[in-house]
């Protein structure tokens, strides 16, 4: 029954979206993490999604989603001149992560909307299955 497959599809999307929410949380939490070197600075992370093809079922019909990898942003960290800062290097600079808080908030809202849509798909599929089970009564 392909309605049961909906749970696999929506479930895979839920876990992918929750990883995305996780990276947003990590980025926002580390948005103000100061470092003394450019290399040691926290870099914003973004998950990369890809489609999963399930060949065993109905010639590539059952398609979920998964996180292929979590990429680190290559943008340069922000350099600030703060000679009085305890983490400042020899020249008096500190380094702040390349996290864009507004971008992260937008990303978070998009992820939570997608999560909700997939929960809705699961709920609807469940209702349909329950109705089908009580067929003829």
């Amino acid at each position: 029954m392909s309605l049961l497959g909906n749970f696999d599809i929506a479930g895979s999307a839920l876990s992918a979206q929750s990883i995305r929410l996780n990276t947003v949380a990590s980025n926002l939490a580390n948005a103000e993490t100061v470092s003394s070197t450019a290399e040691g600075t926290y870099r914003a992370r973004q998950p990369e999604f890809e489609t999963v093809f399930n060949d065993s079922l109905h010639n590539r019909q059952n398609m979920g989603v998964r996180v292929r990898q979590v990429l680190e942003s290559t943008a340069a960290p922000t350099q600030q001149y703060h000679p009085e800062h305890p983490m400042a290097d020899d020249k008096g600079y500190i380094y702040l992560p390349n996290v864009n808080a507004i971008e992260e908030m937008a990303n978070m809202m998009s992820a939570s909307r997608s999560y909700q849509s997939n929960v809705e798909v699961m709920n609807t599929s469940k209702q349909l299955l329950m109705r089908t089970l009580s067929l003829g009564q």
Binding site: S2, I9, S12, F49, N62, V65, V121
Partner: protein
């Protein structure tokens, strides 16, 4: 009068299977709404159902006369999927339009429920006839 129990539900059983398959395709679209380069797909419901109806009504049905014959079931009609044409293609190559997919999913759900209702009606009618109360 002879009632053929195979044909009690008519086209509704095939329609039900097809609606379930379509819900899977739409669920995959919704799940992949944020996947780069994913192309949204759908199935040609009308085409498949009309061909199934044709098969059911045609007199030239293939008959399985020997035990080795494989039955020609119209439920196994090949499900053709096509790619959607997006109204607003996005930069990452994804063609899923969430509002469209949600509307299609709800529409499909209502149709599935309606078909279930028809089948329930048939069952109830049959029960009434059998009881004869």
């Amino acid at each position: 009068m002879v009632i053929n129990l195979d044909n009690v539900f008519g086209i509704h059983t095939q329609a039900l299977t097809l609606y379930a398959q379509r819900s899977s395709v739409l669920a995959a679209n919704i799940a992949n709404a944020d996947t780069p380069n994913y192309k949204a797909r759908d199935i040609d419901f009308k085409g498949i159902l009309s061909s199934a109806a044709e098969k059911q009504s045609s007199a030239s049905k293939m008959a399985a006369t020997q035990p080795g014959h494989i039955g020609f079931s119209s439920t196994s009609a090949k499900v053709e999927r096509f790619y959607r044409q997006p109204d607003q293609p996005s930069l990452d190559g994804n063609t899923v339009e969430m509002q469209k997919e949600q509307a299609a999913f709800t529409d499909n759900t209502m149709r599935y429920m309606a078909t279930l209702r028809f089948i329930t009606g048939k069952v109830q009618g049959m029960m009434l006839a059998l009881k004869g109360e």
